[in-house]
Symmetry: C2
Subunit: 332 residues, 2 copies
Amino acid sequence: MSLVIDGLQYANWSEKIFRQMRAGGVDAVHVTITYHETFRETVLNIEQWNRWFETYPDLIFQGRTAADVARAKETGRTAIFFGSQNPSCIEDDIGLVEVLHTLGLRFMQLTYNNQSLLATGCYEDHDTGLTRMGREVVAEMNRVGMVVDMSHSGERSTLEAIEHSSRPIAITHANPASWHPALRNKSEAVLRALAESGGMLGFSIYPHHLAGGSSCTLDSFCEMVARTADLMGIGAIGIGTDLCQDQPDSVVEWMRVGRWTKSIDYGEGSASAPGFPPMPDWFATNEDFPQIAEGLLRIGLSDADVRAVMGENWLRFFETSFGRQSSSVWSI
Amino acid sequence: MSLVIDGLQYANWSEKIFRQMRAGGVDAVHVTITYHETFRETVLNIEQWNRWFETYPDLIFQGRTAADVARAKETGRTAIFFGSQNPSCIEDDIGLVEVLHTLGLRFMQLTYNNQSLLATGCYEDHDTGLTRMGREVVAEMNRVGMVVDMSHSGERSTLEAIEHSSRPIAITHANPASWHPALRNKSEAVLRALAESGGMLGFSIYPHHLAGGSSCTLDSFCEMVARTADLMGIGAIGIGTDLCQDQPDSVVEWMRVGRWTKSIDYGEGSASAPGFPPMPDWFATNEDFPQIAEGLLRIGLSDADVRAVMGENWLRFFETSFGRQSSSVWSI
């Protein structure tokens, strides 16, 4: 089977899910390890991952470089790459970018829906773009090799991040707004700028990002992928399922509300549907990745294009994104 | 010039000192980065080191494996290996052992003079040996590849650490008590057990550990080294200067007092001499390492033995100490 890389998951991890990754042929996953957690709380989450790596070394290991994807393939395991969906983990301290990179963080969103110290989230009324600290942190992320992820950011902030970043950025889990006009989905202007700068889009299968929601068909999803390939080029797109398997609804509340309000914010949900929406029947677990590949073939993508979308594009992006950017003769 | 490795320093680091390391031909140093600091405070110290690594890449870089010593030699730089003189940095959380190892910590003392959560310091009235957590943390340090350092521990705790640890431990900076009966110096029983278990002793040049204090002659120091080689074997000894160059006296007060008392504890000093004692005239900066090698040759050690003491023994110890101890077929 060809390479499979998922650009984002946040499951309630367990041996069952790790085994499903193997059954689905998943070679590498960018996993969210933290949302609104402080640095110390994020480290506690890393400690939990260290326990999983120690307990299930035959199923998973921590990915640090693109070469770890090949190692995963060769040894029949899944490489786990860490990411954060909010910059809370660096607090107000730019020095924590390098520290967290050393601990394996390879992606960080500049915002999660709200204004952060760095940029504006997609749910704010006014998007003022990158902040002063935001510009500094993007430069530091560029230096150490941590990918700027703008999945939950506002339009202006995203365009400014693309412009300001000296290395290509990613939108790891979102879809085109032209297909489904959710606040979290992205405009053509953003998708074009992303592609022109060498960045990557990961297609989300989170129902709120799908035309038709949980009822979205595989064909509709795959047609959207093909249309986006026409817009962005086949090399700029991959999968970013946003799979939140087995999470209790208390977790989606934490994701949305964190500690920033005493009220309930329903985010993409609503008072009548506050929890995680049911996944479409063609993608419920990691075992379903082959169905996506089959769906893409069925609507007419070539073998080579399907391989690119299912993993090869992310791998190429990993190869140029995770290493240190050094202007010095002294490589680390 | 042959290999030079220093088993412990805690200087007030500066470009001047990094250049003195180069002038003295120092290939690698175990540097103390934290005493009584919490985990978060220790990470702030690591951030400061990251800035130095970024600012002076032509002089220093972070050492992580024994191979970095060869890289230092080849590129004319000094490899900096992190260590802690107290387990405050892991707080009450065994998961922080692996996290700090990932951040580069390669040595950790189980105690600094006082009782810790792990063992008993050399200034306590009663030494009850390794605690329950102490045994667990030693096993975890063994697993990830972090050296147990008992320089500031009590006799019983030190013997128990040697016995309990599945990998050789170190006393990075101390001398035989038979030469100078300081509380911090070590008994023959400890030194024999250390050598028999494959451990290492680093000879301290901190004046309170020297016969004659600041007036100790180089010949006296070198004769002590030779006598200790007779006791422990030439392969079990190295240098661990404990050089605290350019530190203000406020730092020695922090080292001794931390936050554990509201009174002043003078440690190895006294009310009349509370500060750092003056270094002996033959070792004041890193530029003076060649004098130690010359002194050892002068009192009759062979070329090969001097090379062993000045660096080759530490290198061999590094080679077997810093990597992960895995019972699994899955190496990291």
